[in-house]
Amino acid sequence: MRASPSTAAKEVPYEARMDSIIEASSLAGLGPDTISISNVNLSLGSGAARVHILKDISLRVGQGEAIGLIGPSGSGKSTLLMVMAGLERPDSGEVVLNGTAFNALDEDALARFRGRHVGIVFQSFHLIPTMTALENVAVPLELAGRSDATERATRELTSVGLGARLHHYPTQLSGGEQQRVALARALAPDPAILVADEPTGNLDESTGKQIVDLLFAQHAERGMTLVLVTHDTALAQRCDRVVRLRSGRIETA
C-alpha cells in the first residue's frame, strides 16, 4: 500500500515524516545497512532479444562501507548499480536504500529521493554543456529546493580544487576537471550513498589516480556509503569489500 505523497505532505512536516520512515525501517528489521538488495531479478530487451541480466541478487552494504563491484563486460555491474540508484526497476525482489523501499515509490518520488540521498558519478561525466561548473553542481541542490544552492556548490567545487574554475563551461575544462565537477555535483546534496560507474574509464592513468584519491578522501571524510563499479582490480581492492559478478550472479560477496 502506498500513501499519496501530495496528500500526506499537507498534513505532516517533512522532518517528522522522514523520522517515521527511518523508524519504520528499523522496525522492519533492516538494521543499520544503507543498501539492502534482496532476491533481485532483472531482464532487459523484449522478445527474442530479452536477456536475463541480474539473477536472484541479494546484497547488503553497511553504512559508511565502500564496496568495489567488479566483473567482466556484460556481467551486470552497471545494471546492478542502476538498480541500487533507483534508475532501473527490478522485475522482482526488493531494494531498500537508507531505509526507504524503492517498491513503494513512484517515478517522481524516486527522482526526488535520488536527488537527496544518492550521488552518481558517470564514466562520461555527463555534465550539462550549456551550464558552467558552478551551475552544474548547483542543479541537484536547486532541484531539491535548497536556497543556499550557489554557496554550497561553490564550497563543493572548492573542496575538489576547482575554486578558480567556477564559471567555466565543461568544454573549457580538461577531462580530469570535468570529472571533478561531476564528483562535486554528486557530493553536493551530501548524499548517504555515492555510486560511481567506472569514474576513471575516460581518463589517463595519472588523472584517474587523482580522481580516485579524491573519491576515497571524500568517502572517508563524509562517512557515506560508496559503491564503485570498475574493471580495475587494484582500484577495487582499495574498497572495504569487493563484490565480483559473473553472468548476472554474485560470485564473491
Partner: protein, 857 residues
C-alpha cells in the same frame, strides 16, 4: 515495507524551469532557426492581414462622413423625393442631392461609351475635396455655356473615346463640353463598383438629357449635413431613426456616417477572414516545422535530460524546462512576426501612399497583434507538445548504455489531455472569431483531415517500401530502404511538404477558376449585351429593332423595377438576420420583375406557377436558396417597397436559378397583376449565336444609340472586365498571403532534411568506406527524395483540388474546371524543391572525408 513521503519544495517552481530553459539556450538558437522563422512567418501573415484590415476599417470609419458626403444619406431608386420628404430633410440640415445612372456618351463622330453619370447640385461636394485637372469651381465646371453643359470625366473615358479637355459629347438630348478631368471624387467609395467611367454633370443637365423617364434606373441620393454635427454626435443615427418613423412609406435606404459603405466593410471583413485563414494555413505548415525542431532538439538533448533526471529532476520537472524553452522560442518568433505584421500597414502606405484607392490609416492595433500572438503560441504548443511529452520518458539508463529511443511511445494521458485542450482552444479562437463561422469550421476540419491523411500516407509509403521486392540495382535498393528504415525522413518530409502543397494547389486552382470565370471566354449561350432603361412603351419596338439588326441572335426582354425587401414573414428586414451567404438580398434594392410564365434559366422546385390569367392577390416566386436562408416558406408574406409604396405579396412558389448563365435572373418574380400601372422600364439581353464580333458589336451599339438615344447598352464583356480587374487585385493579395505559406513549407522541408543530415553523413561515410562511389550515393538519395516528393505531390494535388472544388462550387457558387497546367506546375516545383534541397544537404555529406568522421563515431 516503508512509506515514502516527500514534498516538492516551493522554490522549485516555474522560475527554476525558466532559469534552466534559458541556460539551455546559451548555445545559441542553432537548430531553432526554422522553428522561430516558421512561427514568425505565420504570425506575420496573420498580424499583417489583421493590421491592414483594421487600418482600413479605421480609415473608413474616420472618413465615413466624407465617403458618404454628409452625416446621413437617403437613397431612392427610380424616383425623386416627394416635396414633403424633401421638406422634412431640409428642415433637419443642409441637403445636397446627387443622381446616378448609367448612360451612353456619344462623340461628335458617333463613337459611343458607357458612362456612370452623376448629376450634382452646386453644393457638391459638401464634404471632402473634388480634385479636378484643371482645377475650377464646381459651379463654373457644370454651368451651361455656349450651348453646352459643363462636365468632368474620368481619364479612362477620355482615353477610351480619344477625347481631350474641351471636346464635346452628347448624352441623350443634351450636349456636354468636357471642361476638366476627375482626379479624385470624395464620395466615390460609397457607390460600389461602377461598370463605366464617371461623368459628372449638373442636375439641370441630367434633366436636359431626357434620361429621366418614369421607371428609369436612376438613384437619387439626398445627403444631409447636420448643423451641429460634432465628430461623435449621435444625431446622425437619431435622424435616421426619426426619418424611418416620420416617413415609413419613403422606402429609402438610409446610411449614416458610421456605416458609410456597409458593402465595402462587409467585403473587407469577408476577405480579411479568407486571408487570415491563408495565414493560419502558413502557421499550421510552420507547426510541422515546430514539431520537427522540438523532436530533433529532444533527441540531441537526451543525455542532458537523463542527467537532470539522475540528479533528482522528475519527469514533470524536465517537461517544464523544455516546455518553457518552446514557449520562449515561440515568443521570440511571435514577436518578430508581430513587429513585421504591425509594420505592414505603414509599409503599404509608405510605398503606395496616394495611389491607394482606399483610405488606409496606418496604426498599431494591439487587439489584432494580441490575437496573432495567441495564434502563434497556441500553434507552437499544439505541435510542440507531442514531441515534448517524450521528455518525460527519457530513461536515465541512457547515460549508461544505448537504449532504444522512446520515439514510438504515445505520450502520457496527462500530456494528451493538454494537447487536446490547446487544440480545442485554437479551434475555438479560429471559429469563434470568424466572420463566417461555417467557412472557419470547414477550414479546421479540412486541416485535421489533411494532417491525418498525410500521417497515413507516410505510414503507407513506408509500409509499401518495406514490402517491395528487393531490387537488384543497389542504388534503387538503398533508396527504397531509406524510405522505411528507422529514423527515415519519410514522415517529416511528407508532413512538411504535404500541407504546404495542399494550400498551394487550393490557391492556384481557385485563382485559375476565378480568372477563367471573369477573364476567359464567356459561358456558352451567355448574352453579349444588356440593354437597360428601355421605356415600357418602346419595349416591343426595341425587340423588333434588335431582331432586325441581329437576325441570328436571340433577344430576351423582361420588365424590371427596383425595390427593397421591407419585411418577410412579418419580420422587419433589419431583424431577419440571415446567414452571411443570404445577407446580400436584404442589403440594398433588388431588381424585380413580373411575368406570366416561368422565366428562362429558372425552374420551379416547390409549389405551382400561377395561371397565365391569374388576377388574385399578388403572388411572388422566390429563389429557393435565399428563401431558405431567410427562413421563408410557401404562403409567407413578403413586403417590398417599390417607387415609395409598400407592396405585399404571398410566396406562391420557389425557383432554382442558374446564375452563371449571366441571363436575366431575378430573386423575386411577381405575378403580372402586382405592378399593374406602376411606371417601369424593361431590360433586354441579346445573345449571339456564334459569340460576339467587336466590329459588329460596335455597329449594333451605334445603331441602338441612334434609334433609341435613351437606352443604355452594356457589353457583358466590358462589365466582366470591370469585375475582373477587382478580382485580379484580390487574387494578388491572396497570392501574397499564400507565398508566406509556400515559404514556410520550404523552410520546414529544409529543416526536416537538415535534421536528417547527421544520419546522412554517417551513412555516406560508411558506404564510401565500403566502396560506394559518390555518384551512386547521389543517385540513391535523389531517387529517395523523388519517390517521397512524388507521393506527397500527388496527394497535395488531390487534396488541394478537392478543397478548391468545394470552395469554388459551394462558397463562391461558380463552376469549377480543374486546371491541369497549374497542378502539373505545382508537382514539378515540389519535386525540384524536394530533390534540390535534399541533394544540397547530401552533397555536403558526400564530401566528408571518411577518416575524420570515423574517428568521431
Amino acid at each position: 515495507m516503508t512509506i515514502a513521503l516527500e514534498t516538492v519544495p516551493s522554490s522549485r517552481g516555474p522560475s527554476l524551469a525558466l532559469r534552466y530553459a534559458l541556460r539551455e539556450m546559451r548555445g545559441g538558437l542553432s537548430g531553432f532557426y526554422v522553428f522561430v522563422a516558421c512561427i514568425a512567418l505565420g504570425v506575420m501573415a496573420i498580424a499583417g492581414v489583421g493590421s491592414v484590415a483594421a487600418s482600413l476599417s479605421e480609415g473608413l470609419a474616420r472618413e465615413g462622413r466624407t465617403l458618404l458626403g454628409g452625416d446621413a444619406a437617403f437613397a431612392l431608386i427610380q424616383r425623386e423625393a416627394k416635396p414633403d420628404e424633401l421638406a422634412w430633410l431640409n428642415a433637419r440640415g443642409k441637403v445636397s442631392v446627387a443622381a446616378t445612372l448609367r448612360a451612353m456618351a456619344k462623340t461628335s463622330d458617333g463613337r459611343l461609351g458607357l458612362v456612370e453619370l452623376k448629376a450634382v447640385d452646386n453644393t457638391y461636394p459638401m464634404l471632402g475635396q473634388l480634385t479636378l485637372a484643371p482645377d475650377m469651381p464646381v459651379s463654373e465646371l457644370l454651368a451651361e455655356r455656349d450651348g453646352a453643359y459643363g462636365a468632368a470625366a474620368d481619364a479612362t473615358l477620355l482615353a477610351r473615346l480619344d477625347l481631350k479637355v474641351g471636346d464635346r459629347v452628347s448624352i441623350g438630348n443634351a450636349t456636354f463640353a468636357i471642361r476638366s478631368v476627375i482626379s479624385a471624387e470624395p464620395d466615390k467609395l460609397s457607390g460600389g463598383v461602377g461598370f463605366g467611367p464617371r461623368f459628372l454633370v449638373s442636375e439641370a443637365a441630367l434633366r436636359a438629357t431626357g434620361a429621366l423617364q418614369p421607371g428609369s434606373l436612376v438613384r437619387w441620393t439626398y445627403r444631409v449635413r447636420l448643423p451641429d454635427a460634432g465628430a461623435n454626435s449621435p444625431s446622425a443615427n437619431a435622424l435616421a431613426d426619426d426619418a424611418r418613423k416620420a416617413l415609413p412609406q419613403a422606402g429609402w435606404e438610409i446610411r449614416t456616417r458610421d456605416n458609410a459603405s456597409p458593402q465595402l466593410e462587409r467585403t473587407i471583413t469577408r476577405f480579411t477572414q479568407f486571408l487570415t485563414l491563408v495565414g493560419l494555413a502558413a502557421l499550421l505548415v510552420g507547426g510541422v516545422g515546430v514539431a520537427n525542431a522540438v523532436k530533433s532538439h529532444i533527441d540531441r538533448r537526451r543525455d542532458v535530460i537523463a542527467s537532470f533526471k539522475a540528479l533528482g529532476a522528475t519527469g514533470r520537472d524536465v517537461f517544464a524546462i523544455y516546455l518553457t524553452q518552446v514557449l520562449v522560442l515561440a515568443g521570440v518568433g511571435s514577436l518578430i512576426g508581430l513587429a513585421l505584421g504591425a509594420a505592414l500597414p505603414f509599409i503599404i502606405v509608405g510605398l503606395f501612399g496616394s495611389l491607394l484607392p482606399l483610405p488606409v490609416v496606418p496604426a498599431v492595433h494591439p487587439g489584432e497583434l494580441a490575437l496573432s500572438l495567441l495564434y502563434g503560441l497556441l500553434t507552437a504548443l499544439a505541435f510542440g507538445l507531442w514531441p515534448l511529452a517524450r521528455v518525460h520518458e527519457v530513461p536515465v539508463a541512457a547515460l549508461f548504455r544505448d537504449v532504444a529511443s522512446s520515439e514510438g511511445h504515445r505520450p502520457r494521458p496527462r500530456y494528451l489531455a493538454w494537447m487536446a485542450l490547446v487544440i480545442a482552444l485554437l479551434v475555438a479562437v479560429v471559429v469563434g472569431l470568424a466572420y463566417d463561422k461555417r467557412v472557419a469550421a470547414v477550414f479546421v476540419v479540412s486541416s485535421i483531415v489533411v494532417f491525418g491523411l498525410l500521417r497515413g500516407i507516410a505510414s503507407a509509403l513506408m509500409a509499401l517500401a518495406r514490402r517491395l521486392p528487393r531490387p537488384r540495382i543497389t542504388m534503387l535498393r538503398l533508396a527504397i530502404a531509406n524510405i522505411y528504415r528507422p529514423g527515415a525522413l519519410t514522415p517529416s518530409v511528407v508532413m512538411s511538404l504535404g500541407l504546404g502543397l495542399t494550400v498551394l494547389v487550393t490557391i492556384t486552382q481557385i485563382d485559375g477558376n476565378l480568372r477563367r470565370q471573369f477573364m476567359a471566354a464567356l459561358p456558352e449561350k451567355a448574352p453579349s449585351f444588356f440593354f437597360i432603361d428601355i421605356p415600357s412603351t418602346e419595349a416591343d419596338r426595341f425587340s423588333a429593332f434588335l431582331k432586325d439588326k441581329a437576325p441570328q441572335s436571340s433577344v430576351e426582354d423582361v420588365p424590371m423595377l427596383r425595390g427593397r425587401i421591407v419585411s418577410a414573414r412579418g419580420v422587419k428586414a433589419e431583424d431577419l438576420k440571415p446567414p452571411p451567404d443570404a445577407e446580400w438580398v436584404l442589403q440594398s434594392d433588388r431588381g424585380l420583375s413580373y411575368t406570366s410564365e416561368v422565366p428562362k434559366g429558372s425552374k420551379v422546385v416547390e409549389g405551382q406557377w400561377w395561371a397565365p390569367d391569374y388576377s388574385g392577390p399578388p403572388l411572388v416566386s422566390f429563389e429557393k436558396k435565399l428563401a431558405d436562408g431567410l427562413g421563408l416558406k410557401i404562403g409567407d408574406t413578403v413586403v417590398v417597397n417599390v417607387l415609395g409604396r409598400d407592396i405585399s405579396a404571398t410566396i406562391g412558389n420557389m425557383r432554382s436559378v442558374d446564375w452563371q448563365s449571366l441571363g436575366i435572373n431575378f430573386v423575386l418574380v411577381f405575378s403580372p397583376n402586382t405592378f399593374r400601372g406602376a411606371p417601369h422600364t424593361h431590360i433586354a439581353t441579346l445573345t449571339e449565336a456564334h459569340g460576339g464580333d467587336p466590329a459588329r458589336d460596335a455597329g449594333l451599339v451605334k445603331a441602338v444609340a441612334d434609334a433609341f438615344p435613351m437606352i443604355t447598352s452594356v457589353r457583358v464583356r466590358e462589365a466582366l472586365d470591370a469585375v475582373g480587374s477587382v478580382v485580379t487585385n484580390l487574387t494578388l493579395a491572396i497570392r501574397g498571403a499564400s507565398a508566406v505559406t509556400l515559404l514556410s513549407a520550404i523552410l520546414v522541408l529544409g529543416g526536416a532534411l537538415a535534421a536528417g543530415h547527421r544520419h546522412r553523413v554517417y551513412d555516406a561515410v560508411i558506404l564510401k568506406t565500403l566502396g560506394a562511389t559518390r555518384a551512386r550515393l547521389l543517385g540513391a538519395y535523389a531517387l529517395e527524395y523523388l519517390m517521397i516528393g512524388l507521393a506527397t505531390a500527388v496527394f497535395g494535388v488531390l487534396a488541394g483540388s478537392v478543397a478548391a472544388w468545394l470552395i469554388v462550387t459551394r462558397l463562391m457558387t461558380l463552376s469549377f474546371v480543374w486546371q491541369a497546367g497549374s497542378a502539373a506546375g505545382v508537382v514539378l516545383a515540389a519535386l525540384i524543391v524536394t530533390v534540390g534541397l535534399g541533394l544540397a544537404g547530401t552533397l555536403v555529406a558526400l564530401n566528408q572525408k571518411p577518416a575524420s568522421v570515423l574517428r568521431n563515431l
